[in-house]
């Protein structure tokens, strides 16, 4: 077993210095709220940025984050054309609650279900909330774990940079 650890560590070290870029959303099937399959890799927004946010109906900080973004979402859309995609990882204990929950919250997001956490795993998300920013070419340019009030302002700065043709380091 020890033999495997060294190369693994080497691999990780190399990865950590590896050049970025070409990070796409993997091809994993999500369900939309009408029960249709949607390929996560096919999510697009006419060359404008997309925010992908992992959440669940039981996750208070997730709801805090999505509500904070929702308060400003109309302005964000007008100014940058950004689209927010909210991916719920609620399992069948709570997935039936997602539709009415969104109606109650008044969220204008595109919402998908990742019931058995396939996309969450494929994107190596540890805990939720976890937010990805995808640029107009479909590349993941930034990600963030957790939510602290005010994080949405930082996210918006990054979206604006992208929308103005800038890049994110």
């Amino acid at each position: 077993m020890k033999n495997i650890i060294l190369p693994l560590i080497t691999l990780v070290l190399i990865l950590s210095v590896q050049a970025k870029g070409q990070d796409k959303i993997p091809s994993i099937q999500l369900k939309d709220l009408s029960g249709n399959m949607v390929d996560a890799a096919a999510l697009e927004n006419d060359g404008k940025p997309i925010v992908i946010s992992f959440w669940a109906t039981w996750c208070k900080p997730c709801i805090r984050e999505l509500n904070a973004v929702n308060d400003q979402y109309i302005d964000w859309q007008e100014e940058t054309g950004v689209k927010v995609v909210a991916v719920s990882i609620d399992d069948s204990r709570n997935s039936a609650r997602v539709r009415p929950f969104i109606a109650g919250q008044g969220w204008e997001y595109e919402v998908y279900l990742d019931e058995n956490q396939e996309l969450k795993r494929a994107l190596n998300v540890n805990n939720i909330p976890h937010t990805f920013l995808v640029d107009g070419n479909g590349e993941i340019v930034w990600q963030h774990n957790g939510y602290i009030p005010g994080d949405e302002d930082h996210l918006y700065e990054l979206i604006t940079q992208l929308a103005n043709g800038g890049s994110i380091d």
């Binding site: 077993m1 033999n3 495997i4 650890i5 060294l6 190369p7 693994l8 080497t10 691999l11 990780v12 190399i14 990865l15 950590s16 590896q18 070409q22 990070d23 993997p26 009408s34 029960g35 249709n36 399959m37 039981w58 996750c59 208070k60 900080p61 805090r64 984050e65 399992d91 069948s92 204990r93 709570n94 039936a96 609650r97 539709r99 009415p100 929950f101 109606a103 109650g104 008044g106 019931e115 058995n116 956490q117 795993r121 494929a122 190596n124 998300v125 540890n126 805990n127 939720i128 909330p129 990600q143 963030h144 774990n145 957790g146 939510y147 602290i148 009030p149 005010g150 994080d151 302002d153």
Partner: protein
């Protein structure tokens, strides 16, 4: 092992080359988590020292590595437990690579070899999944095929054995699922959609019991239907399981039945959900003998809200393996801004009710008291259930809660909630099974009222203070609790929190103690480190934007998570 090392080394070289080459060599990503906990002996909350580990310091962690290139994907997970944290399954010991897989898609065929997670329908028949915070991981090790015959018709097949700690279980699990989606079939989206599906799973485990004639093959199958129109959503799934004498049902031969259904309706600001569950002897493992979350083949949705505030989470509902029935109803409404109740920014109200009862069982013999042995029940059908709806006399739980969310002004947001629980402590915490409950058995019911105020104050850009006040009143069990939390955060990097829970009316005066807790978190990019010091009671624990399940303890802990 050396072969694996060689493969890894080769893979490493490939990546090295990838760096110097413009061609697409795919992407390699992963995540990492480690949790160290140093325990202090606490003679007040743990007078016998039972929960104080001899190691003093325990550590658990993992590293995931996923490689993707187009429709090709491969991954490994290294896990280490030196040893597993207190309160999590002790079976996780040592280190290794219990998870590795290769997956590719070609012409509509999706192939996975190695470990995988999968779910059929709502999980009644089959669900392989992981819940790290709970130490649950019943990943399959084998093969999975998913094939889209034509858009709208999908067939899945699975074959393999399930993970149990660092090994795989004895039982062979094989299954198939089909689903037909009318919208996708007709390529007409919008309007009403009908999705129907069916699933089948069978387990083989050799039997060598000297007394009982145990079935080696046990099968379970289900049918489901989902009707969705603009405002209305109806889902129903029914399932049947053949004779499955096992350690959880005391080796009875009664077949299992399950029905899970829910309907929801949304109209403008109004959302309504109704749900119903009926699970009779439906726990399914890939070995006959297993405990807790080991080797579960299926998943029974509890149909009860999952509470995450510290105090209500102390009375979380757990599914009762040998049978239960219940319902859930929820109404949510948003009062528009500018109305009397909506105020300036609008107000959201959510009312949830759920209950769970034991089934109305007529045991084939007298109820067992502690003097009788288990063998009196084994080998028979065990019981019959009275006619529909089959609700028994034993109440497991009732949960009524109301949540009101409101923005008071530009800087203040509040969530106020009320909870009323009736909680069968004997069944849900002490594990007293319904066939042990007779007319003279004392059942300990806990009646709880709880109030929570959660207020967020945005002091200035990036600086915020969150206050959480909780009061939970009960005359039973451990008595009443009060809890206060203050969380100061500076986006996007820092948070600092102090919390104190006080079990002020514990029937044992020595246990009327405080549970103070201090935590500090720092985030930089996708790296996050969190330090916590103090006493923690058991429950789902949310702080600094992350929720996880933690056991009771006293000491110092460090959690590091990272993505790359």
């Amino acid at each position: 092992m050396k072969k694996i090392a060689l493969v890894m080394a080769l893979l490493t070289n490939t990546i090295l080359i990838a760096q110097t080459d413009e061609r697409d060599y795919g992407q390699l990503h992963g995540n990492f988590q480690t949790n160290l906990q140093y325990y202090l002996q606490d003679t007040i909350i743990d007078p016998t020292g039972e929960a104080f580990p001899p190691e003093r310091m325990l550590a658990a962690g993992f590293l995931n590595l996923t490689y993707t290139k187009g429709d090709f994907m491969a991954g490994v997970r290294y896990e280490n437990y030196q040893n597993n944290l207190v309160g999590l399954p002790e079976g996780f010991q040592g280190e290794g690579i219990p998870y590795r897989f290769i997956r590719y898609k070609k012409y509509g065929l999706d192939v996975t070899a190695g470990n995988f997670y999968e779910q059929f329908g709502s999980g009644l028949v089959f669900r392989a999944y992981e819940e790290r915070g709970l130490g649950l991981d019943n990943a399959m090790d084998g093969l999975r095929l998913i094939y889209e015959l034509t858009p709208g018709i999908t067939v899945k097949g699975i074959l393999g054995r399930q993970r149990i700690y660092f090994e795989t279980g004895d039982g062979i699990v094989r299954g198939a699922d089909f689903e037909v989606n009318l919208n996708e079939l007709k390529q007409e989206y919008g309007g009403t959609n009908l999705i129907v599906g069916g699933s089948f799973v069978s387990r083989y485990q050799q039997a060598q019991d000297p007394i009982l004639n145990l079935p080696e093959n046990v099968a379970s199958g289900g049918l489901r239907v989902n009707l969705i129109s603009g405002r209305f959503n109806f889902y129903a799934e029914g399932a049947y399981k053949s004779q499955d004498p096992n350690s959880s049902n005391n080796f009875i031969y009664k077949p299992g039945y399950a029905l899970y259904t829910n309907a929801s309706y949304t109209l403008g600001n109004l959302g309504i959900i109704l749900g119903y569950k009926y699970y009779d002897n439906f726990l399914f493992r890939s070995e006959r003998v297993g405990s807790l979350t080991e080797l579960l083949i299926n998943y029974l949705p509890p149909l009860a809200e999952l509470h995450t505030y510290t105090l209500p989470a102390l009375y979380s509902y757990n599914i009762q393996a040998n049978g239960e029935t219940g319902m859930q109803a929820e109404v949510s409404y948003k009062f528009d801004r500018g109305t009397l109740l909506g105020g300036k920014y609008g107000t959201l109200i959510n009312i949830n009710y759920s209950n769970s009862y034991a089934l109305d069982k007529n045991f084939t013999y007298r109820y067992r008291d502690s003097a009788q042995t288990d063998s009196t029940i084994s080998g028979t059908d065990g019981y019959t259930v009275g006619g529909f709806p089959g609700v028994g006399d034993i109440r497991y739980s009732q949960d009524f809660n109301v949540e009101v969310k409101s923005k008071l002004n530009r800087k203040l947001k509040g969530t106020f909630s009320y909870y009323n629980f009736i909680y069968n402590r004997s069944a849900l915490l002490d594990g007293v099974v319904d066939d042990r409950i007779g007319p003279n058995t004392k059942i300990e019911m806990v009646y709880v009222n709880a109030f929570i105020a959660d207020i967020l104050w945005k002091i200035k850009p990036r600086h915020s203070l969150r206050f959480e006040g909780q009061l939970m009143l009960t005359e039973q069990d451990r008595g009443s609790w009060a809890s206060l939390l203050l969380e100061y955060s500076i986006a996007p990097k820092w948070f600092f929190a102090v919390q104190n829970s006080y079990n002020y009316s514990n029937p044992d005066p020595d246990l009327r103690v405080h549970y103070p807790l201090v935590s500090l978190g720092y985030t930089r990019g996708t790296n996050k480190i969190q330090l916590t010091y103090g006493r923690q009671q058991e429950g789902v624990f949310c702080v600094g934007g992350i929720c996880r399940v933690v056991p009771a303890s006293n000491g110092f802990s460090m959690l590091i998570t990272s993505n790359f």
